[in-house]
Subunit: 403 residues, 2 copies
Amino acid sequence: MTLDEKFKALQADHAPGQEARQSPGNLNSIMRGERLDGTAVDFSHGDVDAFPPTPGSDLLWKEGFDKGARQAYTEYRGSAEIRNILAGRLGKFTGRPVAADSELIITPGTQGALFLALGVTIGAGMKVAIVEPDYFANRKLVTFFDGEIVSIPLNYLNTLSEHGPDLNRLEKAFKNGTKVFVFSTPNNPTGLVYSKKAITEIAALATKYQVTLIVDQLYSRMLYSGATFTHLCSLDTLPENWITIMGPSKTESLSGFRLGVAFGTPQLIERMERLQAIVSLRAAGYNQAALATWFQEPAGWLEKRIAEHEAIRDELLNIFRAANIQTATPQAGSYLFPKLPALSVDLLTFIQLLRIQANVIVTPGTEFGPSFTDSIRLNFSQNHTAAVAAVKRIVKMVEIYKL
Amino acid sequence: MTLDEKFKALQADHAPGQEARQSPGNLNSIMRGERLDGTAVDFSHGDVDAFPPTPGSDLLWKEGFDKGARQAYTEYRGSAEIRNILAGRLGKFTGRPVAADSELIITPGTQGALFLALGVTIGAGMKVAIVEPDYFANRKLVTFFDGEIVSIPLNYLNTLSEHGPDLNRLEKAFKNGTKVFVFSTPNNPTGLVYSKKAITEIAALATKYQVTLIVDQLYSRMLYSGATFTHLCSLDTLPENWITIMGPSKTESLSGFRLGVAFGTPQLIERMERLQAIVSLRAAGYNQAALATWFQEPAGWLEKRIAEHEAIRDELLNIFRAANIQTATPQAGSYLFPKLPALSVDLLTFIQLLRIQANVIVTPGTEFGPSFTDSIRLNFSQNHTAAVAAVKRIVKMVEIYKL
């Protein structure tokens, strides 16, 4: 693949947050009916005005700034002081102790952690298993590192059989030489939490076939009623090489700080630091100070945040289902991934119409896997009232453009 | 090259700022004479306590934070508002207008810009010309992207012939299929400013042989008495593909914010944004707000900062030269790159001895090119008095360990 072809494949115009760069083109000839008025809602990412950053995060930033040189220039893997604090908390959260010195790296966002993790494990031509649907960058990263994508379907919508990744397909992929498996749980975009049985079997298969596991647990703190979460790293049987990725960008709304962490096999963390040294040196030094708020929020703060999201989730699910739009119930996180009925316009056009005609931004399903031409993703971490009104407009738009 | 070999080649233990991860080993059997007491000086990077960040940068960060969602989630290439401000200032500074929408990207530090620039221009097996000595990450980036390094010597020490890169070697490299040339001016680690003649000829050769030029001008604002700077981008003849990199981490001491910019050929900037989307999404949103201080410092602030650095430079040069340690006069930036006489211990051991016995941290010359086993780099952006005392200790250490 030439560089030109590679970067065509990495196009980001439809990625969340890039909508400002799209030219609306000539939608007038296609548009039917009136414009649907209402408060603009950008479901492409969470609204940190509706759910603001963890209390005190800005004050900690200022304390870091005032500390001066010591905070500005940390080791590439992040401040030893902050790693020490976080290692204890992450160990407690996941049920597996984390060694601050050798098993943990602070990164520029969870995206930064994912980039480093795949950058140190994917060589040219290597087969990498990717779940579909899953976080859109996974596929792009494999392409960038000249790997080969092996698709693993996720059963998330059909309620007749068990939900989760197709483990037969996974074993077949491992048997056929796949060397890395990267996946998110809770899954982005569906909110599916991998069961203990699935996680255990993934770890057993990876151990058997010597596959590196990279698990993105960005949303593992925002669990809804009845959901239980299994941390890969807490299992007794683990493959030699594994990395867990987390960060405070979502539930905690610290995305504007670009902070994340990865923890796992020391050899991989060491490589990740070497890569970080040439990618961006380190997560911004002063910003790292804000990590001291993480897992240390005021009493009741997290519970309240989860309850507020669950209330939004439930109301939006009701609206979609009342309109017969199939939508899985997310067990965690803040994404909905409804499947739309057949429309008279293609998905990208419909999404542009949503933006222009209905003042609503969503992300096309095709960002999460090439086959999801009938799905859209919504991050419902929004003002409750505005989100409800916007989803009603989406339903109206589906009715207008239904085949 | 396997991933294991690649990451061995990317080892960062001797990179600036990583000294805390080195184990001192058994230096006692080697150490001669007494410990040399004095205030610890870390010459591996500038001291932002001695030269603090641009006034108001922390207040602008807070304003950004208070702006909320709009500042937290910018386009991947950075806030349009801030790009608009910067494009005008960069155009004025360089003498070439910069289009905010298509020619400029905000990155996580100048390191981030360099990573993206090389990531979008180097394909596997491609020949890349690298100056020796030059910024240590250049070589590592070529290795990471599976390119092939073609060395171009820099004449910086010998005063008999003209200073600058060996342009005959450069043309030969271009003739032999080199497709990318990356270099820093002012040069890191020597402080050499490429002459107008050299820059013009580099651009002419790159145009003739269709080579992509990537110029790192990180230090181009800190010019000492008598130095004149030529901006590659201001030339009439430019190759089709070029990128200029700058940032406020050094002269302006904003390193703790991780901010940089790249501007150049729109097609390359577009690719860089696509790569940024999977590397770390964007430079931290709130931090971007601090860029409004850049090129807009209080009256006299920059002049004072330069004068203070020039005074340190002159005093350190005098100390080295009085001890017959050959050191080029930097025309810009805050690095000295003295060449040490033959020592009874190897370079890395001497540097460890400097740290343990003399409380001084410097960076080995070998980070800037494999042949510089007799040189050390000092970032003299330090407290003036402490720096002078520390360089006197270095001189004493050279005397102790001289062959």
